[in-house]
């Protein structure tokens, strides 16, 4: 058995007062208060109109927006919890159920037909894709910085959960400037944007969030 006293003496000698991290609930509130305005600002150039809530399909769209917000908050809460050593991994049952309800609502509020006018729905879908990505950029930075403060013993899972949270929050912002009724290619592009955001979050943060030994 080796004597670790020398290392311990060095560590305790260099120890400065530290500021404890906030409880997860406060961290989530702070995160949401920061990412939503930043996401709105960064996607402002792609913001063309406000949602007309008098359109058909407004009620399912509103419920889907609310679900996006709740699932986004749950996902980031899970990411923050998981990043702290010894905390129990978050239960995914309820958020997963809400996410499935969100998916069902969107599928129910979607038509397979192409719109009759305009430059084709694929173009509109790409606009939505770019909107979600541009909204997510500051959100990714803020989330990685938040997770960098605690580091994580499970960086991949923490970042994937954070990516989910960011994707749903981008979707919240998109819902505020989108038709209430969805078209299939359009919705596929929303899903593709969500997956891209999750992958980008994991790739961007992996190096920073990992708790290295030294």
């Amino acid at each position: 058995m080796r004597n670790h006293d020398q290392l311990i003496n060095q560590l305790s000698e260099s120890a400065q007062p530290v500021r404890r991290i906030w409880p997860t609930a406060w961290r989530v509130v702070g995160w949401a208060a920061l990412v939503l305005p930043c996401g709105a600002l960064s996607s402002w150039a792609l913001h063309s109109r406000y949602t007309d809530w008098s359109q058909p399909g407004a009620i399912p769209a509103m419920i889907a927006l609310l679900l996006s917000f709740i699932v986004g908050l749950s996902a980031i809460a899970g990411a923050f919890t998981l990043s702290i050593a010894g905390r129990k991994p978050p239960k995914v049952k309820w958020p997963a159920l809400l996410a499935l309800t969100w998916l069902a609502l969107n599928l129910g509020n979607m038509s397979l037909s192409q719109p009759g006018s305009g430059a084709g729905r694929f173009g509109e879908g790409i606009h939505c894709y770019l909107f979600m990505l541009s909204a997510s950029v500051p959100m990714i930075v803020i989330s990685v910085v938040s997770l960098y403060r605690t580091r994580s013993l499970r960086p991949g899972k923490s970042l994937a959960l954070a990516g989910c949270g960011i994707a749903f929050m981008s979707s919240v912002l998109l819902s505020l400037c989108h038709n209430t009724h969805l078209h299939m290619i359009d919705f596929m592009m929303h899903l593709a944007a969500g997956i891209t955001i999750i992958v980008l979050t994991v790739l961007t943060g992996r190096r920073w969030v990992r708790l290295a030994g030294h």
Binding site: H4, I8, S12, S14, A15, P17, R20, L211, G213, H214
Partner: protein
């Protein structure tokens, strides 16, 4: 682990003082934690040298994330999670190193058949068996004859981190050398 549980009862208070900057409390706490960390690590690793390495890694990790501990919560799950993650990382690293060593051994065999410089290969082989950071420090201090302070500055590390890396590198080299000697 009832004995450790009983001893750990006053650790949250010590950690709270340590978080506030009380160096003595922090020193006392880390020293008290070592046997518990050793017990956690031994559940995953049998190799005694590696166990001691992982204890050091765990102490460094605890130091780095000490602000994430909430003194209202039990301390042992927090320590156990860090120790366990460090142990798994060490086993993964050793597995990768083993693969690299096997590949290098093959390369060395091929090189020997071509009458290349054996001692150069031995040195490279030894250094390749080390993790990147340990190798960099050994090269700085022992091959380029830099002082510990110079090596710390060049590698953007604290002096204590350099000493710790060098110490572990020497142990790993000794272990690697004895393993190789037994094989030949």
């Amino acid at each position: 682990m009832p004995v450790t549980d009983a001893r750990a009862q006053h650790w949250p208070a010590l950690m709270a003082r340590a978080q506030a900057g009380d160096k003595e409390a922090y020193n006392q706490l880390l020293k008290a934690m070592v046997p518990a960390i050793r017990a956690f690590v031994r559940k995953k690793i049998a190799d005694e040298v590696l166990v001691e390495d992982v204890i050091q890694e765990t102490l460094l990790a605890i130091h780095r994330v000490r602000h994430t501990y909430d003194p209202r919560r039990p301390v042992l799950p927090w320590v156990a999670a860090i120790a366990s993650a460090r142990a798994v990382d060490a086993l993964r690293q050793r597995g990768r190193r083993q693969e690299v060593q096997d590949e290098d051994a093959l390369n060395v065999q091929l090189a020997d058949s071509k009458d290349s410089d054996a001692s150069q290969h031995d040195l490279t082989d030894c250094l390749d068996s080390l993790p990147v950071r340990q190798r960099q420090i050994v090269e700085s201090v022992h091959l380029r004859e830099q002082s510990l302070a110079q090596a710390a500055a060049e590698n953007n590390l604290s002096l204590s981190a350099v000493k710790s890396l060098l110490h572990r590198a020497m142990l790993n080299l000794r272990k690697y050398g004895s393993g190789k000697h037994e094989k030949s």
